[in-house]
Symmetry: C2
Subunit: 437 residues, 2 copies
Amino acid sequence: MDHYRLGLLGYGTVGQGVVELLARTQDECAARAGRPLAVTRIAVGDPTRPRSLPDGCAPRIDGDPLALCHDPDIDLVVELVGGVERPREWIRAALEAGKDVVTANKAVLATHGEELFTVAREHGKLLLFEASVAAAIPILQVLQQGLPAGPIDRLTGILNGTSNRILGRLEQGMSFADALAEAQADGFAESDPTLDLSGWDAGHKLALLTRLVVGTSVSLDQIRVEGIERIEPIDLAFGERHHWKLKSLAELRRTEGGVSLGVGPAWIDAESELATVHDEYNAVLLESETFGTLVLQGKGAGGLPTAGSVVADILRAARGEGSTPAVAGEPVEICDPGLDSARHYVRFRAKDRPGVLARIAGALAEEDVSIASVEQPEATDPDRVPVHLVTHPVPTITLDAALSRLGPNGILSEEPLRIRIADTNVLRVKGPTPCPA
Amino acid sequence: MDHYRLGLLGYGTVGQGVVELLARTQDECAARAGRPLAVTRIAVGDPTRPRSLPDGCAPRIDGDPLALCHDPDIDLVVELVGGVERPREWIRAALEAGKDVVTANKAVLATHGEELFTVAREHGKLLLFEASVAAAIPILQVLQQGLPAGPIDRLTGILNGTSNRILGRLEQGMSFADALAEAQADGFAESDPTLDLSGWDAGHKLALLTRLVVGTSVSLDQIRVEGIERIEPIDLAFGERHHWKLKSLAELRRTEGGVSLGVGPAWIDAESELATVHDEYNAVLLESETFGTLVLQGKGAGGLPTAGSVVADILRAARGEGSTPAVAGEPVEICDPGLDSARHYVRFRAKDRPGVLARIAGALAEEDVSIASVEQPEATDPDRVPVHLVTHPVPTITLDAALSRLGPNGILSEEPLRIRIADTNVLRVKGPTPCPA
């Protein structure tokens, strides 16, 4: 029987994992795909570098990705290079040349998804991207095919393994710089970790999930994104005393004012579902009035876990299954998650002099921000005395307005850091959903 | 466009949930199914009892399930009665009459799955059963369609919400009888809770999962099943001091000697993935050398969560998607999980007299069972002094042989209780999977 012929763009960790996995499970893959699979061509940046390949795998290797996308002897193109503009061109070319495409690239789809999904649908081709969100977790498949019936009211994800791992290390008392260096040394953080730490990597993934949950596309500027760069071990130590865990959460909520979309650090109850998501693991929590909560947790990074999802997409495409998301759809009202009320943690560092607390409390009072508790541990450096404060429920934007009143005033030694306290435990202790009569 | 006509066998909590959900989301369902859906006939035990139905839903209601299965005006039969022999006859009749079947009944499929799946395949009909395992968790869909590529080495499930809820209450110090009565009052435990507490409900579900994971059927007597009936608050209190949680686990492991299948209470590390599965929630942990660990957690009981999965199956059937599991397949070697070594907890109750510990230690030593620690708290009743003991790794069957040596000897005031200590934390702290070179 004719082989299903794969062309790979890129042969890094994930590409090697894909080739290795296809070789190791070739009989199972052939059975599931209905025909044998073969990697027949690979485009790489430096085709002169020697490449390790499994026995029996002898693809043409060159440095011409566009030629691969037009190659009539390729059935499916697997894009594993990353980036935005070049992959956009390649994916478009492959679809227009009548090939299905599988990609692990969230950035290109979050930025140009509308265009690329349209091209795919116009040409009757598949554009599958399971590995681009939460590597090994089949979250797209579950959202598209697997879910119990009933609308999703809320999605909460831990979608960036690097951030999650670093927060875990801060919890153990490691400094941010050391934690980042360790993640880089272990191959989990990019050499330029900006996308991970700033929250934008998770923001891209949230944009893709939003497309599937609400059936329409959102532009990246509709997502409120905050990073973890300013978190320190003293914040985590405060959280531990209150039985909280700190996670960088990507959140979609349906509210009366529209759909709110945000990424940023948030405290969750140490007993709640996402609290045990450690290291480079990712998780997605779905909530529905109908089916309650559903959590999926798995590896969010790594060569083989990502390759596993890429291969699952390849097998789907080979069987003609899987579906390219709809484009356009009803426009959806998007609102700022900063409008929702929540308790907040705020960490100040101030000079040790009279009146500091009065000034802080005064600025908050002027915006009607009510203080629930204050903690000022004994300080070693009189120029940088930490003050930890917990507010009563207040919209983030109101709290920000209050904090901006403190401005550069000679009292604070740095910008205050605020972290929302998510109401996860409210959800967890909710009783069983009653059945309609 | 013609309606897709549904016939319901049974109209209890889940049946009412299905009808309610179909009514509430009828436009979405029609869009997903490609045509409108209508519940046109329901068979119930007592057709004279008044039934609450949503507006616009006016099915024929009678007491003749077999006639419904043969009704030429029905496209799909939804079996929600439960039991084994009668549903076997109905499902068979419906498939032979050329109808697809959706069921939430694990018992009939665990017992007669081989026969019923064969009939379905012979008649080219679907027999879907997502709701029968872990209600709202789309575990069958994920195992059949969603998983990253790569074989599953191990599956660990919390599959019985009633047992999980009762263990949670024992942890809070409630007596077994009170915890059971509360679960029954809240509608979560059956009036005859034997199947839940004995582990057999989870055993049925494990049999169905095994069919999908290893591709063959297993008979129920190949599963080692133990219940939670003898667990007491003092056991949970001991676990808490050791940072353990007690869960009733359903486990499938591929070992060198074959596939081992078991259900029973086991201690897990309080920081491990399944530790935060509370109340009536279910969870499934999949482990693979390729993709690492994947956990799915959601409601394992309740009218609407179960109905949500039934409706998802109905929509799949309406689109001609979903797949009936393969039958037969390669026979697989099944081995006894009792052969695997693990640390064990043992709780004795003995009369307060000299030589008790010596006799216990002696019996264990005779079977080479090595003791790691012993704890004998101050007792209030001298005839029932508790002794808690933790062993070094030992196969369960060896430990059982040692405990049987103690037999009825006038020293113990009751049979010892042993609980395996699962090695979940070994898995959790395992480092990232390296990518093949």
